[in-house]
Symmetry: C4
Subunit: 276 residues, 4 copies
């Protein structure tokens, strides 16, 4: 009987196929967004000074709600450790704990520790990732091409190191911001990726000539990651099966096919209401 109650809670929290499950998701979504807005507003000095009291209360309300959600998730799953040490379990914990810790750090502690703690609440936004779903094609394409992209980034870094060093040699005497090799490499990355802040920019004719070469290189090799992901996505599109939002009550695995009867990871039945 208790189990049945837990099983229903599991369906509401971990799945989005039932009306209750959908409602839970919407409420959670709104809460996450509200909490992110709160954290942001808190960092705007004028607002924090004027509405400090309101921010504190609102933050406590949201923290308590997230605490309830955290325990509900632990209770409703069969093996709590599987949730607690999962990616989302850690995120849920890390983004809820700071407010409680802030009770103990008030006073003489350093400002940086407090700031870092407050920051952790921003990780709540990662809870949104639950709604995107892991079965997403783009993520799979990125995962499938991660080796190629890794090689590509390594190549970019080697290029930027050499180009940055050359620019340091040319421009370091000119007072144009190339004061050390790391800074010059930073500039090379800013330029190659076509960001171009302009806080550091070459002044000499030779420096500008080399900068031009870097820009055209950057403009050209942006094609490489695009080509990789496009080719990968084109392959992905062909073998696409419809997956749903169910999650296994036993091992929490997601990405089950619509016609799945049993979990593809642990073999547990996905429809337990009738059996129990």
């Amino acid at each position: 009987m208790t189990k049945d109650w837990k099983s229903k809670l599991h369906e509401v929290i971990y799945e989005a196929d039932t009306p209750a499950g959908k409602l839970f998701d919407v409420v959670l979504l709104v809460l996450i967004l509200a909490s992110i807005v709160l954290v942001m507003l808190e960092s705007v000095e004028e607002f924090a000074l004027a509405h400090g009291e309101f921010l504190n209360i609102a933050e406590w309300v949201i923290t308590i709600l997230f605490t309830l959600e955290y325990f509900a998730r632990i209770i409703s799953i069969r093996k709590p450790s599987q949730y607690i040490f999962s990616f989302y379990g850690i995120i849920d914990f890390l983004s809820t704990i700071p407010k409680y810790l802030s009770l103990f750090i008030i006073g003489s502690q350093s400002l940086v520790a407090l700031r870092a703690l407050r920051l952790m609440r921003v990780f709540r936004i990662l809870k949104l990732a639950r709604f995107i779903g892991e079965s997403n094609n783009i993520m799979r394409a990125l995962k499938a091409s991660r080796v190629k992209i890794g090689v590509f980034i390594m190549f970019i870094l080697i290029l930027c190191t050499i180009l940055g060093s050359v620019m340091y040699l040319i421009e370091s005497e000119e007072g144009s911001g190339f004061t050390s090799i790391p800074r010059s490499i930073y500039w090379a990355i800013v330029t190659l990726t076509t960001v171009g802040y302009g806080d550091i920019a070459p002044h000499t004719a030779l420096g500008q000539f080399i900068a031009s070469i870097i820009m055209i290189m950057g403009y050209g090799i942006i094609a490489v990651p695009t080509g990789i992901v496009t080719a990968e996505l084109a392959t992905m599109d062909k073998d696409d099966v419809h997956l749903n939002t169910q999650s296994c009550p036993n091992c929490s695995a997601e990405g089950h096919r619509d016609d799945a009867e049993f979990c593809f990871v642990c073999g547990e039945s996905l429809h337990q209401k009738e059996t129990e």
Copy 2:
């Protein structure tokens, strides 16, 4: 007899297959461009002061012509409500009315209301969209991949929120512009999308290191939307049918095939001259 006249007007205004219809389109195109140029010139202070009289008269001439077009469109269509509440009907109304309203707001009203009203005339440029046509492949590809692109944008926003917050933690004490989390997120978006204004830029070594990571990420993940649209466009190109510019005299649906005899939305005959 009257109906025949309306039917002809419909053909001239809503279609571009006859010489009269083409002429109407060209005149309309010129008028729209002229009116946009007028609105722009009005915002250039020196010009507005020197040629205020001319701008006012020209604006009235164009407004009256657009008013005539608006009523002609209402008269020539069978069910006027279908045009009035369509996207283009609302655009036509909103971009024509401001000049008339300005007659009543002269004097003590706030400058902002007047500015906002004047701005609405810029929406006339949306009338240009009529010439592009909805049957366009690119639009269809964008529509078909809107879920994927939505997920991608959500992913970008989550990333920028976290990265912006981290940068706020690192740089907020340095006087380099990271004064609040929203501003830091703004900076993260400016950097990740490779825009790079340079109004806010990291000063610390750690900040520049993280900025470099964001840039390389942005440089890499620009591949994702490209991959999505390319894959979608490649599929689109295969099943391409030739559509023409006719629009149904009954329901205004567009995108009829060249060999269509009846409207694919309401079943009305597309060639009414002979029958009536």
Copy 3:
């Protein structure tokens, strides 16, 4: 006999299959590059003051050589008008004449006219385009997708007009550079294309919010032209025939297949040495 001489000259100048033709091309290439460097150096004030005499002589030498090339091209072709009024004929004329005209404008004439004249010599760089060849796949892909790209650019311009106007409404009172609608549209283009100079940048929170939306849009819709050209290029690659650098001695048509015996435009034999 004279004809045979002309025919040989034609082969040297217009084709690159014989050793003499290749040598002519290399000499021409070096001359063009040298002349471009000269024009550039002339614009660098310090250099122009120090080496004015050298620049003048070098420019005359190059101008006379290009004049000889121009007349050689006219003489060696059967129908001179075909060359004179072709794209390259006009470029050759426009880039050679300024030096001669400068003889007559010395003195009281306006500086701007002189500057514009000098500028025309830069068009010599277009002579380089001859070496790229029209039969290039990329050019064909761009040509094939020019309608789609035109629609895309029109879409960008409509978007930038509206976004620029909205930003003008929001930021014009803030002293942040949005002083008129055209300037705001310029900013919108700078932002949407991810160039991001930073000379104009939003100061208000609302302005920065809208700017963020524009950036993410720009980051996303860059995918559209890429998708178009990629799809077009993929189609192109399939039906690729090998073309050579021969040009018809009668009508100057280029892009003949390697196994072509007669011009595909006018039917003239491409191998005239034996017949005459």
Copy 4:
């Protein structure tokens, strides 16, 4: 007997299939990264002044280790000249020699020579390229499309030369940084590649109008290299064979197939331990 020892050393140094070979690679990787970090730190003035002694000693340790590696590579290969004059052989030599040369240049020599020498040590990062491997698909795609990319870059340069010259004509009198044609071309490249530093930016309305055109062009033609590489990569993916990290003990050729028994370049047996 000696040969057997050399053969084992060859396997450790040039291949990564045995545990010893993998360990060697990891140690080398760490050494390269450490040495790059050292060179970078040396360029940061505050650090160099505070820890000059430490930097000098660490640099000597690394230099001696790389010297040992250099001689080990020469000894273990059958034809040392093949390694010495290979790309990596030259890199290994150039990045090791500067520290020894610095012994002789101390004193009255010019600072620039010393700087340039120190810079050469950065080339050690190219040693990392060994770990990427030449058999990489991306490199092959880039190599296969190098002619097209060359044509594309030539096209970009011609465009930037003309656009830069036009901007010089328009803006040179405005004090907006367009002081010479080369600088204007530099600006055109900065703009077309969407880098956009903002150190040079047009002030006149006409200049901003042309700048807008350049930006939209740049935004559009970025599609071209992407299209080229994507098309090339799509073709590559189809005919992919598995290659391993073995290198021929005779000619050092890499990229052997997993099932290869003999070097595909010189025909030498790849498995020599048993035969000798």
